[in-house]
Symmetry: C2
Subunit: 499 residues, 2 copies
């Protein structure tokens, strides 16, 4: 069995190298590549991705997995986890017939292309037939994984393995029930003055300030770097090279700063994985939700907390004296935590964000179940925004045409991770505070070692060694609930808005 | 035959994509990669390179070549050239037995490692046994290509295909005979005052000035970019993405500026290749010598000419008024063309540079022929430096231990391209002036379109469609001679030093 394990790991390492090379090409495409490089770059990435797939779906990999699974109980636990994670990824690739994959690939390109033109033209009718197909293909893909409880389960599994539609629906229903009245109460108050954030803040100073903070968080610049791009992201080439990107708006201080903090959370997770997992499917965050919980921890729980700004605001004022010397800490703290009922998910604040996400999750479940037709989707969208956020988009541009996710090929499984991440972030943080009650005080001193150490020990190091449900059970000793998240939101926004 | 050609091109495209991915990873390694990424990056590049080799040496490629060669006369000329170039590359990979390749790979790593410690310690004895092996392996590799006239020919072929040792020796003997007395005459005069180049020149201004010039040369920044690195180089990811790197010394204006001009010459060659050759062995400069001829054209023939500085020096003064307003054009022009007998090849000036190169070429020929022993090499080095340049290194550090080339695995074929490039640059330029006598006047106006257009039409577009000897014959209508190069050097340095 040792031989099979060594051979499997050798094959996985080669596949991982190809995927890492692809990631470097993709990073370069988003940061430094000149426009003339675009056409060849797409082809080069397609070549790498096809080779990686060919190597992963090689029948020999299946045989190795079969052999190892027969004696999985005799394997060391890390190796058993490796076999299970590899099997999941393998099945995802081999259970969907190549002809269906080819059809979806073609369809995705056309659906996306159509959407890029239909959105500015407010032309939902143009994308409707593609969306219809996207739902049908998603159903067809789900049916390649028989035995599910809900047709969305196999799609949710691709990003949040083991988080069933039923579980997520129940969590989200609870959250919505609490969140809608909370948002109502907060937005009934006078809104925060955010003008202090919209002065002129030179990019180089913004960048230096943000990088200083994330270095103190524990993001290791010897094993990473930050570059500029249009759409911020974190990416990993190896455990020794986990990079982030950001963008700066010189007239909006929050945009670049919180994006830097957010991406540093994703990156610290990846930097913290056990180096022994490098080159295997265990090397990397275990699910979209857990990943998001780490970015939101540093962006929101830490980075938008009063303790944090009590320490950093004087430094920020010293960095931008002309802009901020007459702005009080309280005004600034309220500004970075302002709440608005709005139409656009990606611009939403901490409190309303989840409402945007849950609308999409519920609608895509309805589409997949067949209880909502594509034709009725735009109105269903408006109705939910009206009900949950009290706003109505003037057109579909900022309505159902807003996000790319549904127009990239499949419908389902792409949204739940954002809100699961928020729920988990508070639950994990609660646990960290129970273990180390000094954490908030330390944050107030610009010290993050205890929190970072706790996250590394309890979450980061395991990579994908545990699935999200397993990790939650391990860390919390119980299944996930929304209670810590709701308590956190009520306490924070209750204090801010004197509820 | 159409089918075989299509299949060959499909395979070559995939191999080219893998090689391009490798080039991106290598560029990133030299520009932006954080230190923590080093170990994984070496492995990732090794994986890509091994896959590319496996795919290229696939027996199916050999069968396709066999089939196509049988009817090569019936192929369109471009396709026939493609088959010939592919055959050359294929034979290089398949004719050397894998066991020998493996032995050389191991040996290379150890030889290089030993050299990095032996050079600072001035310990030639430590590297001597490795160098002995490097010569033996080089001879063994050469013997995999029987039928050569000189044992160095197969090694020279790898970088300068078709340039036989005998041809190069004859050219170099002529050149040395002319160059030694010229250098003697010039260095007998008072040396130029170079102090104007060694003031403080802020990096960002140096960079902007250099990039403005190469943009005017015709380097297309929509299909390339310049980044910072330790050792400047040009690299190609596709015809639409050809990048250069440079470094700046804020106390040496010439270092970064001429490196930028030099690399832009390499890059314009690659940007100018017929896009129809993309993804095939024809996509790329045809030999080390021809490539160097293009970098030296823009660095030296253009960039160190009086006409060029007559136009650009006022702009340079306006960029660095404090440093240069009291320095005359003549003083500056003499400074960038100063001549010194020196010990270090990479720091040598335009006039003495070839003497350094030819010493190495002659010594490696003697090693390969067996007429010089490793034991006698350090003294042979000193003797030639004494004879050609009138200098004697105080130790082997700046003597035989100076360059990495001989300590990277094989001896032979790595140096001749530098001087062949200089010889070719003058010969091609002479031809361009015969076709367009206005070129020097245009350079004096900061106009380079005629020269760039001529190079593109006569050299760049063909990529590796013609071998270097074929290209020379096409452009010059005659074999290469040193006459234009010597005439150029005598005229330029004769004027500068009033010989």
């Amino acid at each position: 069995m040792e031989r099979e394990l060594v051979e499997l790991k050798t094959r996985l390492q080669e596949i991982s190298d190809l995927n890492s090379a692809s990631a470097v090409l993709s990073w370069d495409q988003a940061t430094y590549m000149p426009p003339g490089g675009a056409a060849a770059r797409s082809r080069q990435m397609a070549t790498l991705s096809q080779l990686s797939q060919e190597k992963f779906t090689d029948a020999a990999v299946g045989h190795l997995l079969d052999a190892l699974e027969k004696q999985i109980d005799a394997l060391p636990e890390d190796d058993a986890a490796l076999v299970r994670a590899t099997r999941r990824n393998y099945d995802r690739l081999v259970k969907v017939p190549p002809q269906l994959v080819a059809k979806i690939t073609n369809h995705s390109a056309m659906a996306y292309q159509t959407w890029t033109q239909a959105r500015p033209a407010n032309d939902f009718a143009a994308v409707a037939p593609y969306l219809e197909k996207s739902v049908a293909y998603a159903q067809e893909v789900a049916d390649c994984f028989p035995g599910y409880d809900h047709i969305a389960d196999p799609l949710i599994d691709w990003s949040d393995y083991g988080m069933k539609a039923a579980t997520v629906k129940a969590l989200f229903a609870d959250l919505r029930a609490q969140l809608v009245p909370l948002v109502e109460a907060v937005t009934a108050q006078e809104s925060a003055d955010t003008s202090c954030l919209h002065q002129f803040f030179p990019q180089d100073k913004q960048r230096a300030f943000g990088e200083k903070i994330i270095r103190q968080f524990g993001y290791d610049f010897d094993r990473g770097r930050q570059d500029l791009t249009h759409h911020p992201f974190a990416t990993k080439f190896s455990i020794g090279d986990v990079r982030i990107t950001t963008r700066f708006d010189e007239h909006n201080l929050g945009d670049g700063l919180f994006s830097t903090l957010h991406e540093s959370g994703h990156a610290m997770y990846e930097q913290g994985v056990d180096p022994g997992y490098e080159g295997t499917p265990l090397d990397g965050g275990t699910s979209a939700g857990v990943h998001e919980s780490q970015s939101r921890t540093w962006e929101n729980l830490v980075g938008r907390s009063r303790a944090f700004w009590t320490h950093y605001y004087p430094e920020l004022q010293a960095t931008f004296p002309e802009q901020l010397n007459t702005v009080s800490l309280d005004t600034f703290y309220r500004a970075v935590n302002s709440v608005k009922r709005s139409l656009i998910r990606v611009d939403a604040d901490q409190l309303t964000y989840d409402l945007h996400v849950m609308i999409r999750f519920d609608l895509e479940l309805a589409l997949l179940e067949g209880s909502l037709s594509i034709q009725d989707l735009p109105e269903a969208w408006h109705a939910r925004y009206e009900a949950d956020l009290g706003v109505h988009a003037p057109s579909d541009i900022d309505g159902v045409l807003q996000d790319v996710h549904w127009y990239g090929g499949l419908v389902g499984g792409a949204f739940q991770g954002y809100t699961l991440g928020n729920i988990m972030s508070a639950a994990f943080y609660d646990r960290a505070l129970a273990d180390h009650p000094t954490i908030p005080d330390e944050i107030g001193q610009g010290e993050f070692g205890t929190l970072h150490g706790w996250l590394k020990e309890n979450i980061y190091q395991y990579g994908s060694r545990y699935t999200a449900p397993e990790l939650i059970e391990r860390v919390l000793g119980a299944p996930l609930t929304i209670d810590p998240y709701i308590a956190y939101l009520k306490s924070k926004f209750g204090e801010l808005y004197a509820l």
